[in-house]
């Protein structure tokens, strides 16, 4: 946290409540370019709600969002996309029966001067982007349905990259995947980091994300328990943060930290 660069995203003192219940209470998180921050917490801890404020699905009651140090007005998903924020959904939102190129360009197809689809150009660009992300990917002609979960995930991510995403939100990206595929997504995330893309990983399972993340931010009952660099803490200590709200020595406590003497 001694980084002197401008954070890619800074969410400051965000609060949002639904019918008197504080789903997120005075929460602050940040994200630097090329960094992976895991947002951890139990179901209902407020992590998804907090991140949906960033992706434009919810509107905050108070607080501030800075993108590249500039205050950002995000009130709907389209605004978020404008700031280069893309969300990869847990449900693998790809169109199953068309190929990778069609998925990458769905909704903004390239067209020839005659108004017809320029499939060849789309396939060329797709090969380029996929080659960067996942050099072994070869099944460009097959419907996405025929691909493995990990490959489908890389198609979804490639789609986000093609939108010039600078900030990627991945909600339980490996929840639907097997161990090998999870490893594959891990490789992908490392690749994205190299390109300077900042990633928020959301999970309730620390094992999924601990090895991928540079930092963890833990939430409990709508409040931030604390932040820590993963190299400074053990899995057990992070688990203590998630379950008890107990902040280890090397972590920075937040407003939700357990009050001890």
């Amino acid at each position: 946290m001694t980084d002197t660069r401008t954070p890619l995203v800074e969410m400051k003192n965000i609060s949002i409540s639904f019918g008197g219940i504080h789903a997120v209470d005075n929460a602050s998180v940040d994200l630097y370019p090329g960094e992976v921050v895991a947002l951890l917490g139990h179901n209902g801890a407020g992590k998804s709600t907090l991140i949906k404020v960033l992706s434009g699905a919810y509107k905050r009651d108070s607080g501030e969002i800075l993108i590249n140090g500039e205050p950002a007005e995000i009130t709907n998903p389209r605004d978020a996309k404008k700031y280069g924020i893309e969300t990869i959904y847990q449900t693998l939102a790809v169109a199953d029966n068309v190929d990778a190129a069609a998925n990458l360009y769905l909704g903004r197809e390239l067209r020839t001067p005659w108004g017809t689809l320029d499939d060849v150009a789309m396939e060329a660009k797709t090969r380029e982007v996929m080659g960067r992300l996942n050099p072994n990917f070869q099944r460009f002609k097959e419907p996405v349905k025929a691909l493995s979960g990990g490959q489908r995930q890389s198609v979804a991510i490639a789609r986000a990259i093609l939108f010039d995403a600078r900030i990627l939100i991945m909600d339980e990206p490996t929840a639907a995947l097997g161990p090998q595929e999870t490893a594959q997504v891990g490789e992908l995330i490392k690749q994205l980091k190299k390109e300077g893309i900042g990633i928020f990983l959301i999970s309730h399972d620390i094992h999924d994300v601990f090895d991928l993340a540079d930092r963890v931010s833990v939430m409990k009952n709508g409040q931030v328990v604390g932040h820590a660099r993963t190299e400074d803490v053990t899995k057990d200590e992070v688990l203590g943060m998630i379950i008890l709200g107990k902040v280890p020595e090397k972590a920075i406590p937040g407003p939700g930290a357990m009050q001890t003497a």
Partner: protein, 437 residues
């Protein structure tokens, strides 16, 4: 990454161990499913030819078959898009009825009063009005499906009754005849065929188009350095495509005008009646030409245009399509409107062919259309289907029906057979797809 490396290795292993047949299909990229359908159709054709004592595979019967298929084939192309988006249209037969009846009244009763009998503009005005009416009915049904969220099964089941009722209402059940002479050409018959020379020209153009398409696709793929088909496979595809086209032209050009009509024609044109009779070939029937053009246009729409891409994406995963920013509701309205237009084209073909508009026109056509699309490989689960498959499906259905008539099977058994074939075809397709996975 591990599993990708593994599958790549497995792919190489599979390629190496592949037998020549598999390698052939991979190289030519022929859809084995479509090939299976062609095979099934050939079996039906040859089977009926043997059972009927050589009556089935005659130029005359094949020419008639092509004309009889046209109307349902046209509607089946639209049904593919409807079913691909997980909808159904049960009202196509009734839309055909009401549009056909309206066009009948227009050309036989209303327009002659205004313009005079057999005025050259009558058929154009009639056809345009029919297409507009079809589009309007389809768009209305699509609007109810998309924006009022009524399931398409119910909307079009209602439409089945409403438009059939409307067909009755237009003339209180009276049959309207005869049709305008120019309009009647759309129904085929001796005059509604383009003759030998024009048929050869159409065949030659089709062959040029086949060569151009394959060459262009190869050029495009080369430009971006994508894997190419082997040269022999390209030549093979061109050869097969051209052979089918020229073979079909030969068949329709071998079916001469009936003697009585040929004699009348000879008398009218002062041609001396030769010894063995005058051989004037039919050539391609105009309704068949219409169906082929519709098939090409619909294939173009579904594979080359953004609209078609959206239709398939929507069918595969409606949620993903919505998240990608596709206006899914409008796409649905457009699909149903297009279906309505195709019903109008089919209505023109069938009223012209019958030379009358009746209130029973198109009854049960919705079922034949759906059956054609489904036999042609359109999945009711959505997301899958091809225009060519559906048209071939229509041809298979019609072959069965005409074949049974030729062989002399009674009407009740005809329906039983068609019903059983539909179920068995879809069952076989299910097995094929399960194994293809």
């Amino acid at each position: 990454m591990a599993d990708i490396t593994n599958t790549a290795a497995a792919n190489r292993a599979r390629l190496a161990s592949e037998n020549p047949v598999k390698r052939f299909f991979r190289a030519t990229e022929i859809d084995t499913r479509l090939l299976g359908m062609v095979g099934a159709m050939l079996i039906i054709w040859i089977g009926f030819d043997i059972l009927s004592g050589g009556l089935f595979l005659t130029p005359r019967n094949l020419w008639n078959l092509s004309v009889q298929t046209a109307s349902v084939a046209v509607m089946a192309t639209g049904m593919v898009l409807v079913i691909v988006t997980r909808n159904i249209d049960l009202s196509v037969g009734s839309i055909l009825g009401v549009v056909g009846m309206t066009m009948g009244v227009l050309q036989a009763e209303l327009l002659p009063q205004l313009l005079g009998f057999e005025h050259p503009a009558i058929w154009i005005i009639t056809l345009a009005a029919g297409l507009l009416l079809g589009a309007a009915i389809g768009a209305l049904q699509g609007f109810i499906v998309a924006f009022l969220n009524v399931p398409s099964f119910i909307v079009t089941l209602g439409g089945l009754l409403v438009w059939r009722g409307a067909t009755w209402f237009v003339t209180s059940g009276r049959t309207v005849a005869p049709m305008d002479a120019t309009f009647r050409l759309m129904g085929g018959g001796t005059n509604g065929s383009i003759g030998a020379t024009a048929s050869w020209i159409v065949g030659a153009l089709a062959c040029i188009a086949i060569v151009a398409t394959i060459a262009n696709s190869r050029k495009q793929r080369k430009r971006f350095g994508f894997p190419l088909r082997p040269m022999w496979a390209e030549y093979f595809l061109v050869a097969v495509g051209c052979a089918v086209v020229l073979g079909a032209v030969t068949v329709v050009n071998s079916y001469p005008w009936p003697v009585a009509i040929a004699r009348k024609f000879a008398d009218a044109n002062g041609i001396a009646w030769p010894e063995g009779g005058l051989f004037i070939p039919h050539g391609i029937a105009i309704p068949v030409l219409i169906a082929i053009v519709v098939g090409i246009v619909m294939t173009f729409i579904s594979t080359r245009l953004r609209f078609g891409r959206y239709v398939f994406a929507l069918g595969g995963n409606p949620e993903a399509a919505e998240l990608a920013g596709i206006k899914t509701r409008w796409v649905t309205v457009k699909i149903f409107a297009l279906m309505g237009v195709l019903c109008a084209v089919a209505a023109a073909i069938s009223t012209a062919r019958l030379n009358a508009a009746t209130n029973a026109q198109g009854e049960l056509d919705e079922l034949y259309t759906i059956a054609a699309a489904v036999i042609g490989g359109t999945s009711l689960a959505g997301g899958m289907g091809t225009i060519a498959g559906a048209m071939l499906g229509a041809l298979v259905m019609q072959s069965l029906q005409s074949g049974m008539v030729l062989v002399g099977i009674d009407t009740p058994f005809q329906r039983i057979v068609v019903g059983v074939v539909l179920v068995v075809a879809v069952w076989l397709d299910t097995i094929y797809r399960a194994r293809a996975k």
